[in-house]
């Protein structure tokens, strides 16, 4: 307990001296400076006082001897005066002067100490005692009217008086000499003290200057930095570096709070921005997808006015043809029925590649019956890849485009090739015709994602209608491109290869395999449930 106490006090003192507030930071330098200057002044006054005291003592020691001699002179005078007049006043004066002299003599040294001035004092003191005895004896003798005795005593006293004066002079001289040497030492000391004072003062001023400068810098620098950063933030620039304030006062708290505020502000703004972008994108995406599908369905519905009716009618036609033994007709009508059944499906969900290929094949079968041997169809399907998912109504429009556009003017030997195969981690689907090909400008327009993204669904619809006036049932290539890109979120999902020096047109689909999580697993069941 006792041992812990000083440590505790030191800790408390240290805590008091630790500048953890602006108040202390301003107060402590002022106090320190005050203490320094005060200490210097006190030191100055003390040293000067010592010197002055010493000087006083020096002169007093000489003055004391003069006093003593004066008193001695008085005693001598009154002794003489009594001896000559025998008056009671003279006797009274004699006793008074004698007391006075004894008082002063009592201040002199009476010890036997081996030092000249002290021995001189002792001699004087003891001579004064002898002198007093002699004068008293003389006065006694005078009272007893013993003339011979008082003359004798008076003469002796006179002699001693002279000796005392002699010794007093010697002591005076002795003291003066030692005082003078002391005075010289003191003069040197005064010079040294002055020099020391100047040095200490200079030191104090230096330390003071450093303390005040550092304190001012320490207080103003972080505040200035803070102000500058606050200005930047006010202009809207949140990218400000954090302030490094290593003090522990209010400025530090302020800087910390400022930094925290900037960080929170930044995080908040970023979050809002992100949310906005995400929402916008999602909305845009949904909207475009919906519109495109609507356009496609609209076009289909326009082409097949009453598909259910037509589908049922076609089925009935196929059964009749079979009953009548017209197998080929039956098969044809079945294909047409299949084609329409597929078309009347709801395409708000994705489908498998298998279904798409099936529909394309139905369509080609129908067209082949129409066109006869004018066109031939070849396929090369990798069975592994048939289950991947993709948007509906993609392959049929491509095949339709190849037949109606690429092979439009081909009289004989027209060919459509369908290839589906793995290519790396994607499935490549090629729709190739050996027709007249597409001009680059047309390809560019078709693949231009921007024009598609900005175009409204209505525009898209009218555009496709305009581009293919002779084919109301065709679904615009651009529509396919847009839907594929939206579905797969990538640009290179579709490419059109055609131009001078290349036979016909090849539309290449490069379909990524979507992660299972993103796939609507219920789709096949729903699709079958629809039938």
């Amino acid at each position: 307990m006792i041992a812990a106490r000083p440590g505790k006090w030191a800790g408390r003192l240290f805590h008091i001296l630790t500048p953890n507030s602006l108040f202390k930071r301003l107060l402590i330098p002022y106090l320190l400076t005050g203490i320094l200057v005060g200490a210097s002044t006190v030191y100055n006054i003390l040293s000067i006082n010592i010197i002055v005291d010493r000087l006083n003592a020096t002169y007093e020691s000489n003055a004391a001897i003069f006093d003593l001699v004066e008193s001695l002179g008085e005693v001598q005078t009154y002794t003489e005066s009594y001896l000559s007049t025998k008056s009671s006043t003279a006797l009274e004066n004699y006793y008074r002067a004698s007391d006075n002299l004894n008082e002063k003599a009592a201040l002199l040294n009476d010890e036997i100490i081996d030092a000249e001035p002290l021995l001189l004092e002792r001699n004087i003191r003891r001579m004064i005692e002898s002198y007093n005895l002699e004068t008293q004896s003389a006065i006694q003798a005078k009272r007893g009217r013993d003339i011979a005795a008082y003359t004798d005593h008076y003469n002796t006293s006179m002699q001693i008086y002279e000796y005392i004066i002699l010794y007093a002079d010697q002591l005076n001289k002795n003291r003066f000499e030692s005082n003078y040497s002391q005075y010289r030492v003191m003069g040197q000391l005064l010079d040294q003290i002055q020099l020391l004072d100047i040095l200490i003062l200079a030191l104090i001023l230096g330390i003071n200057f450093v303390i005040v400068l550092l304190t001012a810098l320490r207080i103003t620098r972080p505040v200035a930095e803070l102000a500058q950063r606050a200005g930047l933030v006010a202009e809207g620039n949140l990218d400000v570096a954090p302030i490094d304030v290593d003090s522990h006062d209010e400025v530090h708290t302020l800087a910390k709070a400022f930094d925290t505020m900037i960080v929170s502000l930044k995080a908040y703004v970023t979050q809002i921005k992100d949310n906005l972008i995400r929402e916008t994108r999602q909305k845009e995406h949904e909207l475009v997808m919906e519109n495109l599908l609507q356009v496609a369905q609209l076009k289909n519905l326009q082409a097949q006015i009453n598909p259910h009716f037509l589908f049922n009618a076609l089925n009935t036609g196929a059964q009749m043809a079979m009953l009548e033994g017209a197998d080929r007709t039956s098969e044809f009508v079945e294909h047409v029925a299949d084609f329409y059944r597929y078309n009347i499906k709801l395409f708000d969900r994705d489908v498998t590649l298998r279904e798409e290929i099936q529909m394309a094949k139905d369509y080609i079968y129908i067209q082949k019956v129409r066109f006869g041997d004018r066109i031939s169809y070849n396929e090369s399907i990798d069975l592994d890849c048939l289950s991947i998912r993709m948007p509906g109504l993609v392959l049929q429009p491509l095949v339709e485009n190849a037949l109606n556009h690429g092979l439009k003017d081909v009289e004989q030997g027209g060919r459509v090739d369908l290839v589906a195969q793995w290519k790396g981690d994607r499935v490549e689907v090629l729709v190739h015709d050996n027709g007249r090909g597409m001009d680059p400008e047309k390809i560019r327009q078709t693949l231009d994602a921007k024009s598609l993204a900005t175009a409204s669904p209505g525009q898209l619809a009218s555009e496709t209608a305009e581009n293919q006036p002779g084919n109301g049932a065709g679904i615009a290539l651009s529509n396919v491109v847009a839907r594929l890109r939206l579905f797969f979120h990538c640009e290179d999902v579709i490419d059109i290869i055609s131009g001078p020096g290349i036979e016909g047109t090849t539309v290449r689909l490069s379909l990524p395999v979507l992660a299972d999580a993103s796939l609507p697993a219920t789709e096949p069941a729903e699709a079958t449930g629809e039938n």
Binding site: I112, A115, N123, M127, M186, L189, I193
Partner: protein, 371 residues
């Protein structure tokens, strides 16, 4: 870790510990101020304060010298101080700085008036000094005479040479070199004011020379009233002399030197031997150069030492021996160098031990002779 990073860390440290530094500097300054004050106080401690720390002694003696600043009396004083420190006493040196007949008596009277514990004094003017000595002794203050005696006074003790022995020694020195011729001894014209017991010296010399009929002894009386009369008398002697003087004996250093100077001026240093009593550096130099045959010296240190011992003995035992003889040393060309060595060594030892030579043993035989 490059230089700038260190500089930054240093700066950081400095700023962080700014107040610590400030507090430290205040402490430093206070320390400096305290130190300065202490130095100041130390330097201002005046002599009295230092002296006050000294122990008080039992006795207060005074040594009254013929001439306080002469080497001889300084040596006596050194001996006296050595003895004083042994007997728990303090001894003052009193007397004129230069030669004066009156002051010896006066100093004795002053010492009586100051009722000191003892007086060791030389005797210059026998009449005056004797009166003063008697007065002091009557007042109960013991008095010891030294070097020169006042045999008629009430002094309790004399410390010094045996004058008869001194005369005999002079006789031996004279006959060593001059078997025939005239020998002159310089004495004072007023026996009352003579410093030494000159009659005793002359008696001793005469008794010794009685065995040498070819030698004649004459005394030259010198008036001591004037400092110049001695020189005049010596020059007169040499002028009147018929080349028969073979040796001149002087009883004080001043006369010894005057004789040598007169002889040098006359070109007679080869024919006249000079014998003296007591020495100083000039005298020793003349012995070295052969101008002086020999001098007889007493041991001033021992005289001073013995006188204070005698005073202390009177204070404690109330009595002491009437006469304490001081040894005589003959210094001639044969031993002057060795003598100088011992004097210098003693002076050096005194200088190094301060003004208070504690050990009398530094001087050969000093302590035994002191008993």
């Amino acid at each position: 870790m490059d230089k700038s990073s260190y500089a930054i860390r240093l700066r950081g440290f400095f700023i962080r510990h700014l107040y610590l530094l400030a507090v430290l500097s205040i402490l430093l300054l206070s320390l400096l101020a305290l130190l300065a004050m202490n130095v100041l106080r130390q330097r201002l401690l005046d002599q009295a304060e230092i002296l006050a720390s000294r122990r008080e002694a039992r006795y207060h003696f005074v040594l009254v010298a013929e001439q306080t600043d002469s080497p001889f009396w300084q040596e006596v004083y050194a001996g006296a101080r050595a003895a004083a420190s042994e007997v728990d006493a303090v001894v003052e040196l009193a007397g004129p700085q230069s030669f004066s007949t009156d002051q010896t008596a006066e100093q004795i009277l002053i010492a009586s008036a100051a009722r000191l514990d003892g007086i060791a004094t030389c005797v210059v003017d026998t009449n005056l000094t004797e009166q003063a000595i008697d007065q002091a002794v009557k007042a109960g203050i013991p008095v010891v005479t030294l070097e020169y005696d006042a045999a008629e006074s009430l002094r309790q003790c004399f410390v010094g040479v045996n004058s008869y022995d001194l005369g005999q020694t002079f006789g031996r020195l004279v006959t060593d070199r001059n078997p025939i011729g005239e020998i002159v001894i310089l004495v004072s014209d007023d026996p009352q004011r003579a410093s030494l017991s000159e009659n005793q010296i002359v008696a001793g010399l005469q008794d010794y020379l009685a065995r040498y009929p070819s030698l004649t002894l004459n005394s030259l009386e010198i008036n001591r009233d004037s400092a110049f009369s001695a020189e005049q008398a010596i020059r007169d002697l040499l002028v009147k002399d018929q080349q028969t003087v073979r040796a001149i004996i002087s009883l004080n250093v001043g006369d010894t030197l005057r004789v040598v100077e007169a002889l040098v001026d006359d070109g007679r240093t080869n024919t006249v031997s000079v014998l003296g009593y007591q020495e100083n550096s000039d005298v020793l130099e003349y012995i070295q150069s052969g101008l002086i045959q020999a001098v007889i010296a007493s041991d001033p240190y021992q005289i001073g030492y013995d006188s204070i011992q005698a005073l202390a003995e009177i204070k404690t035992n109330n009595r002491t021996s009437d006469y304490i003889p001081s040894d005589l040393v003959t210094i001639d060309a044969g031993n002057v160098d060795a003598y100088l060595q011992t004097v210098l060594a003693a002076a050096g030892a005194q200088a190094s031990t301060g003004i208070q030579p504690e050990s009398a043993g530094e001087r050969p035989g000093g302590q035994e002779r002191g008993q």
